[in-house]
């Protein structure tokens, strides 16, 4: 509350005092910033770049200063600041020469916050989204290869999160919840490693419900697309112990979508 400060009799009257700090030339400010960055004095470096950007807002120094400030924040692992300065760069210089790099730094800020699969995967979703923007908008940039790899990892985390919830419901005998969660993984996250386990869990859930033909279909698709996966061996053993064979119904929605995938990935044939 404001009582303490008003009681303070020694509050020196904050009169205006004129002070004129001489303007530091642009290039010296920039090198000052770089020097500080090398020494690891991130805050001071960022201040130098901010001052440069303010001092010469329309010169060619401004984009340089802004991208360097983004990089400094990234080194400092201040993810929120990195994202906000990167966004400022992209707004002002959408096709500047470092636009791809700004987008990459922004995406990596979310990417570095991805927690393990038992926690909220919002960071993974955000990282995947901004990495996808990087791939679409700057196809020729040198970060695209790495971005694609990171998208795959982020997708894997999102699938892992779905599997975590699916397994929770399976262990709690809530087969409806489990089946629908594993169906999500099979339909939306086909290229992740979790799809094998998702199919095996579908077989388990349907088997527990007693709907054997569904179990057979799921196991057959698993066998067809991932013949040497340990999960297929488990599914096969499960069906066999109940006198069943994995029998794929060609018309099944899953195998149809997989044939689409198989063709693309060259598994078919």
């Amino acid at each position: 509350c404001d009582t303490l400060s008003s009681l303070n009799p020694f509050d020196k009257s904050d009169k205006y005092t004129m002070d004129t700090t001489p303007d530091v030339p642009n290039d010296q400010l920039y090198n000052d910033g770089l020097g500080r960055l090398q020494k690891g004095d991130y805050d001071a470096a960022a201040k130098k770049f901010q001052q440069l950007e303010k001092q010469a807002p329309y010169s060619e120094w401004a984009p340089k200063a802004l991208i360097m400030e983004t990089y400094t924040r990234y080194q400092q692992q201040q993810w929120e600041d990195t994202i906000s300065t990167a966004q400022r760069y992209l707004q002002r210089y959408p096709n500047g020469k470092d636009a791809a790099y700004a987008q990459y730094l922004m995406a990596m800020s979310s990417y570095n916050q991805i927690p393990d699969i038992t926690r909220d995967q919002e960071a993974a979703a955000k990282a995947m989204e901004s990495l996808q923007v990087l791939v679409n908008r700057y196809p020729k940039s040198e970060y695209v290869a790495d971005a694609k790899k990171k998208i795959q990892f982020a997708k894997d985390q999102l699938a892992g999160n779905q599997m975590e919830v699916g397994r929770y419901y399976l262990n709690n005998r809530n087969y409806t919840g489990a089946i629908n969660r594993f169906r999500d993984v099979v339909s939306q996250y086909q290229q992740t490693r979790h799809v094998e386990e998702a199919l095996e869990r579908l077989a388990e859930a349907y088997m527990a419900l007693g709907i054997t033909n569904e179990a057979q279909t799921a196991a057959a698709v698993l066998g067809h697309n991932f013949p040497d996966s340990p999960w297929y061996k488990d599914a096969y053993k499960l069906l066999q112990s109940n006198g069943l064979e994995p029998r794929e119904d060609r018309g099944s929605w899953i195998s149809r979508s997989f044939r689409g995938l198989a063709g693309a990935v060259g598994l078919e044939g």
């Binding site: 008003s6 004129t20 038992t118 262990n171 409806t176 919840g177």
Partner: protein, 759 residues
């Protein structure tokens, strides 16, 4: 052409021909943060400004001061040229004093006094405390929400036609503040006409849900009571398995008889199923720790009762700053997606707490606690405490979902040392451990099984400063000796002497104890209860190995009830009994030693049987085997003081007794030189036929009701909760009077302070 002239006028108006600003400064602003002001202004370093934009900035600052209740603030700006050709813009503020709400008047309130209505409002009038509070600042939207509070108050008291016809506030220059006038039209007070319950759901008969209705004919019509009845009936219907049951109140107002007929229609609501439960924002807590608190799963029918129960459970976990459960439409018309937004709060705390309690003196405690260990919901605590008269460390761990079931399994390890005090002439070190398993039976009833194994070591200090055993082994230089070298009975007793019973109990005792705790808990909020009942019964048996063999049961029941909006009443009953078995006598250390926890106003171990065969009977309570106690208390906010100070008052009346010492009073083969024992004039203890003071103690064990009344102040200070109790003992055991000197009376202690802070 038109905007051309506009642009030309702007250029002419530009300051210094459009040069950019070097620096913007605000002078004289104390009440409002400078940076907050600077962010609001258009004038910024390197910006171009015109006199028009600067004038607009002045208005903007004035507006900010207005909202903070400083209507008198005066703002001006000036431009200062700098030698390097650039210029600075300086805003000067003279704040002037506060312009708050001078008076709140009501017109048309016949049934309730203006001060009663004012007490409902959050906006308050300026008074001598204006310096502290800012609730007297004129804030239009706070005034609007106040009107809603008043309307709900009237609705609760039967004024169904109540309306606020007008509420204006004008600034009165003379009084230097706003005058608020609220005119109300109360209308007649309605009573409840007839009440009927009608069920339109097949398979659900009215009698099963009727119990929830709390509005009966003749009562004053109360909108809240109707809402509560609807809620109660929906709950019972849902509990019986019809998840889609929905209760709709229908009010029929007939103005001539000033009565309202209320009909409750039980019908089938929309059949909605949960498609997904999305848990979001859990950056630390793991998904299953939250999901397992829901009795509903994906695919189940949406059931409000179970949803509220889950939200209440999540809040009680204490891992989250906020928990918000919201629904959004799902993929199908009968599908809903439940979003659980949580915000993790750091549950790891490294707390250093200082405090003072009259029994333990100054206490310092360092504790490392993590209530959500690795986000798995496990509780870990390591604490060390140092005090003038007590030291201790303890470690405890709890897994709330042992083996995946809702069973709280945990263990504790502790070592506590309590020094001698002026109420107990012995030191006691207790070291041991306990394992426990908590099983909730229903939402209210829980059973906890406990096994603990601990060792107690009692010693009697016999040093220069604490000569409490010098009758037996005299201390050179302090104990006054007779001519034959034996300690002089009167003097060695006078400097404080432990009772023979306690001397006999010196040494190590191992206790191996198994117990069960039965709890019934319907408190609405465990930390600050306003309504509800908490009952705890703890039967324990010691004797599976170890030295002590006893059966002990203690009980404690507390009933809270909200008497009026802010006053919370509490009734408490407690009792306990301990009995040895297996032929061995009860060890003195297992007795109940009670004081302020039973009846406030008494010193620690100030109540109960006492050995009066020594002069130092004040410090030689020997404990009792049975106790009963009751207390009535009312907590209320202290009037006139603003709520922000966090001060609450309480008045209470306690009564209780501790009696029935069953330990030994005759120690035939005591190794202590007991010739001197029992030498307190007029209260000689004698055994056997010798009639002289043998190895015996005389215990005064009066089953008289001790009672006291008192008041306390509770302060939720920034340093933590602090409580001052003052209690005056009405009735106590005054002890036996011998030659004008009293022995063995209860020890009172009127003032008690306990507090401390955890930061």
């Amino acid at each position: 052409q038109q905007d051309d002239t506009g642009a030309r006028r702007a250029r002419a108006d530009a300051v210094r021909g459009g040069m950019t600003v070097n620096r913007v400064v605000v002078e004289g602003s104390k009440k409002v943060e400078k940076t907050a002001l600077l962010n609001e202004l258009q004038a910024r370093p390197f910006a171009r400004v015109t006199n028009a934009t600067l004038a607009a900035d002045v208005e903007r600052i004035k507006n900010i001061y207005n909202r903070v209740g400083r209507g008198y603030a005066d703002v001006s700006y000036r431009v200062v040229d700098l030698p390097n050709g650039r210029y600075d813009v300086v805003f000067t503020v003279t704040e002037g004093d506060k312009t708050g709400v001078k008076a709140i008047n009501f017109v048309g309130n016949t049934n309730y006094s203006s001060s009663r209505l004012r007490s409902l409002m959050t906006t308050t009038e300026m008074n001598f405390l204006s310096f502290f509070k800012n609730s007297d600042v004129y804030d239009p939207d706070r005034l609007a929400s106040d009107q809603e509070l008043i309307r709900r108050f009237y609705l609760k008291n039967g004024y169904a036609d109540f309306q606020i016809t007008s509420a204006e506030a004008y600034f009165d220059e003379a009084q230097g503040g706003y005058i608020v006038t609220i005119t109300v039209d109360e209308g007649p007070q309605y009573r409840v006409g007839n009440v009927n319950v009608e069920s339109r759901m097949s398979g659900l008969d009215v009698s099963s849900v009727e119990g929830g209705v709390s509005t009966s004919t003749g009562d004053v019509y109360n909108a809240d009571a109707v809402e509560k009845s609807v809620q109660a009936m929906t709950n019972t219907a849902a509990k019986q398995g019809n998840a889609f049951a929905q209760v709709r109140p229908v009010g029929q107002r007939n103005p001539e008889t000033h009565t309202v007929d209320i009909g409750y229609v039980v019908e089938e609501g929309p059949r909605v199923y949960i498609e997904r439960i999305n848990i979001r924002g859990n950056t630390r807590t793991r998904d299953y720790v939250i999901r397992r608190e829901f009795d509903l799963g994906e695919g189940d029918a949406y059931n409000k009762v179970l949803m509220d129960r889950a939200e209440r459970r999540l809040n009680n976990l204490g891992y989250f700053k906020k928990v918000r459960v919201t629904n959004e439409p799902g993929s199908g018309p009968d599908r809903v997606i439940v979003n659980v937004d949580v915000e993790d709060q750091p549950t790891g705390s490294f707390s250093v707490s200082g405090g003072y309690s009259t029994s333990d003196g100054f206490i310092g405690e360092v504790a490392v606690t993590e209530t959500n260990f690795l986000g798995r919901g496990q509780y870990v605590r390591v604490a060390g405490s140092m005090g003038q008269r007590s030291k201790g460390i303890d470690f405890s761990f709890t897994e709330p979902y042992f083996l995946g079931y809702r069973m709280a399994a945990g263990f504790d390890l502790f070592s506590k040392y309590s020094d001698e005090t002026k109420y107990a002439r012995y030191t006691n070190r207790m070291t041991g451990g306990q394992i426990r398993l908590g099983l909730p039976i229903t939402e209210e009833v829980a059973v906890t099984f406990r096994y603990s194994l601990y060792q107690q070591e009692m010693k009697i200090p016999n040093t220069l400063s604490e000569p409490y055993n010098d009758c037996t082994n005299p201390i050179y230089g302090t104990t006054v000796l007779n001519s034959d070298g034996s300690p002089n009975a009167y003097y060695c007793q006078n400097n404080g002497e432990a009772s023979l019973a306690i001397k006999e109990a010196v040494g190590k005792t191992l206790t191996s104890l198994a117990g069960v705790t039965l709890t019934y808990n319907t408190l609405d909020n465990t930390r600050d209860p306003r309504n509800g009942l908490y009952v705890e019964v703890k039967p324990e048996v010691a004797g599976l190995g170890g030295d002590s063999k006893f059966f002990r049961v203690t009980g404690d029941a507390r009933y809270y009830r909200e008497l009026t909006d802010d006053i919370v009443g509490m009734v408490r009953l407690q009792g306990g009994h301990i009995r040895a078995f297996g032929g061995k006598d009860l060890r003195i250390v297992d007795n109940f030693f009670l004081g302020p926890t039973l009846v406030r106003g008494f010193a620690p171990s100030g109540i109960g049987p006492r050995d009066i065969s020594t002069l130092d009977s004040e410090a030689n309570a020997v404990g009792g085997t049975t106790y009963f106690g009751g207390s009535l208390e009312a907590q209320f906010p202290i009037p006139f003081l603003p709520r922000e100070l966090g001060l609450k008052g309480a008045v209470f009346a306690d009564a209780g007794t501790l009696f029935n010492y069953e330990g030994k009073t005759y120690f035939p083969n005591s190794s202590y030189n007991t010739l001197l024992e029992g030498y307190s004039p007029g209260s000689m203890c004698s055994y056997g036929n010798t009639g002289t003071a043998q190895n015996c103690i005389k215990v005064r064990d009066k089953n008289v009701i001790r009672s006291s009344i008192g008041a306390s102040i509770l302060w939720n200070s920034p340093l933590g909760p602090i409580r001052f109790d003052y209690a005056y003992a009405l009735s106590k055991d005054d002890g036996v009077k011998v030659d004008g000197v009293r022995y063995g009376g209860d020890k009172t202690q009127a003032f008690r302070f306990s507090g401390g802070t955890r930061f």
